[in-house]
Symmetry: C2
DNA sequence: ACCGCTCCGATTGTATACACTAGTGCGCGA
DNA sequence: TCGCGCACTAGTGTATACAATCGGAGCGGT
């Protein structure tokens, strides 16, 4: 990651995710040069890459703009994620190794510990999300499709932009936690249809949680 | 498309597809400069884009190499395509407009004409593939998911690399043609499950046709 | 003879200068 | 006063020069 282009990519991406560069803001190459401390060439390369990953939109001779996501975009995004993650989970149920199952179990145990511990809520949620990502990535890889892994990685990255704007509630996190436990059971049982179904629920619930209007007790993100 | 970078992209991509740059061959920037008639900057940009679309593989300080696809890669690719195109067709069945249905019908009629006409076989197949792409794209767009359109576009582009190496048989094309006709019936009937199922068959048959070992009467590509 | 080290050439990565495009604001004319 | 057009400028697109890096060839030591 010593690359100037990579550093620029990381820096700009991080700034987009934490709203330093808010949605729809224009990213001028000269500003980014100052921001990243590298010359225009790697900055341009980083922007093209971010455009390929849908973080920014580039129009010819008019530079880059941070992409914004409408509610419909999010529906679209999470529908596809549910389809693909469900498919991945189903394939994983047939193929997953015992070692991977143990890793998932370990991650779930760690989640237990985090949630039961005395850390600040924000810290708990952050830890949970990190472990959540680990669980999902194990499942992706266990699906045996490299292409699926990269597609899902991309979709999840895009969802991140929406997620970081959200407050996360512990009740939402607890629901996710239960999904993970059930997923583990389904995978252990090598039950393809069950794994697919619970994963789809997991993702669709995550979409719902992003909506500004809470249905009953809590609004919050995370999956 | 007057861009130097775009021209470089098109030129290199075309050369990869028609095997001017065969799989695994190394693409040196200096050579591409001569080949495309533009300077290194746009050539590099084109390469990065081709890498993002999986046409080439770039390793740091070691340049770009044309990607090759193993049989497993193709299985993977077509499995995902079947899943996503099926999904798209199902959604399209619920949403497609009468105008789009007429366009599909028109394309199918044109296919009829092409196949019944007296053109050379190669010409027939090329025309058929063009119309095939049109039909698929109408279905994609009718699914109402922009993201799905771009993902499928990408997957199909990747499949192209494998397809161009193939001989296309007319019997294979005829099978595809029947799939299209049945798809149109399913869409007209607004039968989501039917549309999804026939589209999945269509794609899986296309995968099968790419295998070097013909099962019975013919090997050939195209979908 | 074989292994490892160093130097050199080839190739990619980065910076910067120059070219072009498009958007903007001012001025001129009606 | 309003509309049109032109010039100016900010910003992106392209070319090229310079720096860093990798791989291989040649040499020397063991």
């Amino acid at each position: 990651m010593a690359n100037a282009a990579d550093r620029a990519y990381q820096a700009i991406r991080a700034a987009i995710l934490d709203r330093t560069f808010p949605p729809n803001s224009r990213l001028k190459e000269a500003e980014l040069v100052a921001f990243c401390g590298v010359s225009r060439t790697p900055v341009r390369e980083a922007l093209r890459r971010l455009a390929a990953e849908d973080f920014v939109k580039i129009q010819r001779n008019q530079g880059a703009q941070v992409r914004s996501w409408s509610s419909d975009d999010l529906d679209d995004l999470f529908s596809l994620r549910a389809l693909l993650e469900g498919y991945a989970a189903g394939r994983a149920a047939k193929r997953i190794s015992d070692a991977d199952l143990r890793e998932i179990a370990a991650a779930i145990d760690e989640m237990d510990a985090v949630l039961a511990g005395g850390a600040a809520q924000q810290r708990k949620v952050a830890e949970f999300l990190r472990l959540n990502r680990i669980v999902h990535e194990i499942v992706w890889r266990a699906s045996g499709s490299a292409r699926l892994v990269s597609m899902l990685g991309r979709l999840v990255e895009q969802a991140l932009t929406a997620h970081t704007a959200q407050k996360y509630s512990l009740s939402r996190v607890a629901q996710s936690h239960h999904h993970h436990q059930e997923l583990l059971h389904a995978l252990r049982a090598r039950d393809e249809a069950w794994a697919e179904a619970i994963m789809r629920s997991h993702i669709r619930a995550a979409r719902q949680a992003l909506d500004p209007v809470p249905t009953e007790n809590a609004a919050g993100g995370g999956e």
